[in-house]
Symmetry: C2
Subunit: 358 residues, 2 copies
DNA sequence: CTAAAAAATGTTAAGGCTAACAGTTGTGTG
DNA sequence: CACACAACTGTTAGCCTTAACATTTTTTAG
C-alpha cells in the first residue's frame, strides 16, 4: 500500500472494467455529475482508490473544450510588482481549481507581447491576464488579435476600452506630490522609471499636474530602471546638475533606497535637507533609515481581483468595469517641511551617543 | 486583414481539406517531421497561413503523451529567492519550447507539497521542479509517490538521493561566519529563519560549526520569518536580552535591513559597534546605509540549471549529480574589526556637514 | 397493477492530434 | 525494361475524456 503509481497511470476505462460499469458512469462519479446509484458509486469509488485513478486534465480539456487553466503574461517577474501580483493571482486561481501558466514577456513592445500570448493560446488557456505595459492602441490591437480568448489587462492607460484591473497610478502620484507641496516644498525633482511603462507615465503626469496647479514645475528629472542602483545614479546626476531641490519624488521604493544612499553620502540629511517619497511600500520601506514615506499599492489584492474579473468573464457573466484600485499615502520620516532648521539638539545627542557608547 | 481568429479555430482537418492533402501530411509540415514534397509543403503552408492554423497543444500532448510543460511547485513566490528562481526557470523553459505551470505550496509540510504536486501531475506535466523545504525522508517519500514523473528538488539537504539543484548553504554560512571570526569577533549573535526551512538549517549549522571550531559559540539566537520587520524585532530582542555582541549573522538581507535599523535606533554604529552580515545579496544591499556585507546567491542561474537538469532527465539522459552551486562572500562596509575605536574625526565631520549644509 | 415519469446506466461520436503502418509514385541500376 | 529502393502520401487506430442521446431499470401516481 501507499505507492500512488502503477506502471501506467489508470484511465477511466481501467476503472470501469474493474468496477463493472461503463466509462460514463465512472466519469459521472468522478466529476459528480448526473445521478448514480449509491451502491454503484461505492463500487466505483472503491475501484478509483484501488487503481489510484487521477483524471487526465489534458484529455478532459480537449473533450470539454475548457482547460481550466489561465495564462499570465508578465514582464520581469523578479520585480516587486509582478511577483506580488503572481502571488495573488495564483492563490485566487488555485482556490477555484484553475492552474496558472506563467510566461514572461521578454521585451517591451507589441510584438513581444503578441508572441507570448500566442504561445499561451496554443496551450488552450481559458483566459489571459496581461501584465505588460500597453498603450491604448496596442491593447486594442491585442484585443482584436486574441478576440477568441477573454483577456484582462493589468497595465494599460485608464479608460482603455478593454477589461482591466488597474491601480490608480495617477492618484497615487498626486498623493505623493501633494504631500510634498502641502509640506511647503517648491523645488521638487523626480526620478521616474522608463516612460514606455504605461503606469509610470501616469505617475509622471500626476506629479507634473500637481505641481503646475501650484504654479510649480519639476526642477529636475532623471530616469531610472526600477533598480536601487539606478536610483543612486539618478540622484547623483540630479545633485551634479547643480539645481537645488528640497523634495524628491521617486518612482518606486527600490530606487528610493539608492536615492537615500546618494543623499547620505553627500552629507545631505533626509528629511532635513531633502524630503524623499517613494512608491509601492515594500516590506523594507518602513525600516529604512530614515523610514520611507511612500504610496502603498496592494498588488496581491489587485491580482486576486484581476483573476476574479477574468473568472466572471469565463463564466459568461459580463462583469462591470472595475473601479481603479486606490493607493494609499503612507507618511513616514523621510518627508518633512522644507524650512525645518537642522535639529541641533538631536544631532548632538546622536553624536554623543556614538562617541560615548561602549 | 490581420485578424488572427476565425469563428472557430482551424484544425488540422480544416487545413488538410483546404490544401487537398491528408491530415498527416499537414502534421508533417507543421512539425517538420518526415519528408514532404516542396510543392506540397508550399500548398500546406499557404493553407495554414490562410486559416491561421495554430496547433492545439492539449490534443498534441494527449496524442504524444508529452505535454511539453513542467510544473514548478514553490513556497511563497513573493519572496526574493522564489521569484528570482522562477525568472531563471521560466526563461530556460521558454527557450526550448516548454511552458511553466506555477503552483504555490501554501504551507509547510509533506501533505501540502503532495497536494500541490498531485494537481500538477493531473495536468500531465512532463516533469516537476520542487522548491519546497523537504527533509531527506520527505523528499524520498515524494520521490516514491511521484515515481512516474521526473523531479528535481531545489531545497533538500545536500546528499539526499534525489535529483537536485542546490546552493551550498552551509558553505555560504561558513563564509559569513569565518569572515566575522577572521575579523576578530568573538561575541557573535545570529538571526535565523524558521528551521523547518531546510536551507536555513544548513546555515545555522554552518555558523555554529565555524564558531565551535574556534572554541566559540553563538551568544544569542533569534528567529525571524525572512521579513525586514522580523529582523527588526529579533534585533530588538537580542539587544534587550542584555548579552553583548559585536557580530551579527543574519539569515537574509531583508531581515538585515530590519537589523540595521534597530541598531541605528539604539545609537549603535555599524560596523563600529556591531558588524552585520546578511545573506542573498539583494539589489538593495549594496546601497543600504551602510552597504551590507553579505553572501551572494545567484538564483536565476540556479533555476536555469535546475531546468536543464530536468530537461536532460526528460530526454532520457541520466545526468550526473549536479555539484552544489557555490555562493560568494561579498564584503562591504557593514563589517569590520570589532576593536575599531569610534572614528571621532569622521563623526565630527559628518555633524559639521549636517549643521553647516545649506 | 399499469402507465408515466424519474433515475440509472450504457452507447456512440466526437475533441484535435500523432504513431504506425500501408500504399503510391518516382528514381536509378543492371 | 524490370527491379530495388527511396521519397512521398494516405489510412487506421488510438491518446483519454465528455456530450448527447439511447436504453434499461426503478419509482411513483392513479
Amino acid at each position: 500500500m501507499g505507492s500512488e503509481s502503477a506502471d501506467k497511470p489508470a484511465t477511466l476505462a481501467d476503472v470501469a472494467r474493474l468496477a463493472g460499469v461503463s466509462q460514463q458512469t465512472v466519469s459521472r462519479v468522478v466529476n459528480n455529475t448526473g445521478p448514480v446509484a449509491t451502491r454503484t458509486r461505492a463500487r466505483v469509488s472503491e475501484a478509483v482508490g484501488q487503481l489510484n485513478y487521477v483524471p487526465n486534465r489534458l484529455a478532459q480539456g480537449l473533450a470539454r473544450r475548457r482547460s481550466h487553466s489561465i495564462g499570465f503574461a508578465t514582464n520581469d517577474i523578479a520585480l516587486h510588482a509582478p511577483s506580488q501580483l503572481t502571488s495573488g493571482i495564483e492563490r485566487a486561481a488555485r482556490e477555484v481549481g484553475y492552474s496558472l501558466i506563467v510566461s514572461i514577456v521578454p521585451d517591451y513592445g507589441l510584438g513581444s507581447v503578441t508572441q507570448t500570448l500566442r504561445v499561451l493560446r496554443e496551450r488552450q488557456v481559458d483566459g489571459l491576464l496581461i501584465n505588460a505595459s500597453l498603450s491604448r492602441a496596442d491593447a486594442a490591437e491585442i484585443r482584436r488579435r486574441f478576440a477568441d480568448v477573454p483577456c484582462v489587462f493589468l497595465d494599460v492607460p485608464p479608460g482603455t476600452p478593454v477589461h482591466a484591473a488597474l491601480l490608480d497610478q495617477r492618484r497615487g502620484a498626486v498623493l505623493a506630490a501633494e504631500h510634498l507641496t502641502r509640506l511647503g516644498h517648491t523645488r521638487i525633482a523626480c526620478i521616474h522609471a522608463p516612460q514606455d511603462a504605461v503606469a509610470e507615465h501616469s505617475r509622471l503626469q500626476g506629479w507634473q499636474d500637481v505641481l503646475s496647479n501650484q504654479g510649480l514645475s519639476l526642477v529636475g528629472q532623471q530616469e531610472g530602471d526600477w533598480s536601487p542602483a539606478s536610483g543612486y545614479r539618478a540622484t547623483v546626476a540630479l545633485l551634479a546638475s547643480g539645481v537645488a531641490f528640497s523634495g524628491l519624488l521617486v518612482g518606486n521604493d527600490q530606487m528610493a533606497v539608492g536615492a537615500l544612499r546618494a543623499l547620505w553620502e553627500r552629507g545631505l540629511r533626509v528629511p532635513g535637507d531633502v524630503s524623499v517619497i517613494g512608491y509601492d511600500d515594500t516590506a523594507e520601506s518602513a525600516l529604512l533609515i530614515p523610514p520611507l514615506s511612500t504610496v502603498r499599492q496592494d498588488f496581491p489584492t489587485l491580482g486576486r481581483r484581476a483573476f476574479h474579473h477574468l473568472k466572471a468573464l469565463l463564466d459568461g457573466q459580463e462583469p462591470q468595469t472595475m473601479p481603479l484600485t486606490q493607493p494609499e499615502l503612507v507618511v513616514r520620516a523621510s518627508t518633512a517641511a522644507p524650512d525645518e532648521r537642522p535639529d541641533w539638539r538631536t544631532a548632538l545627542k546622536v553624536l554623543e551617543t556614538h562617541l560615548t557608547n561602549r
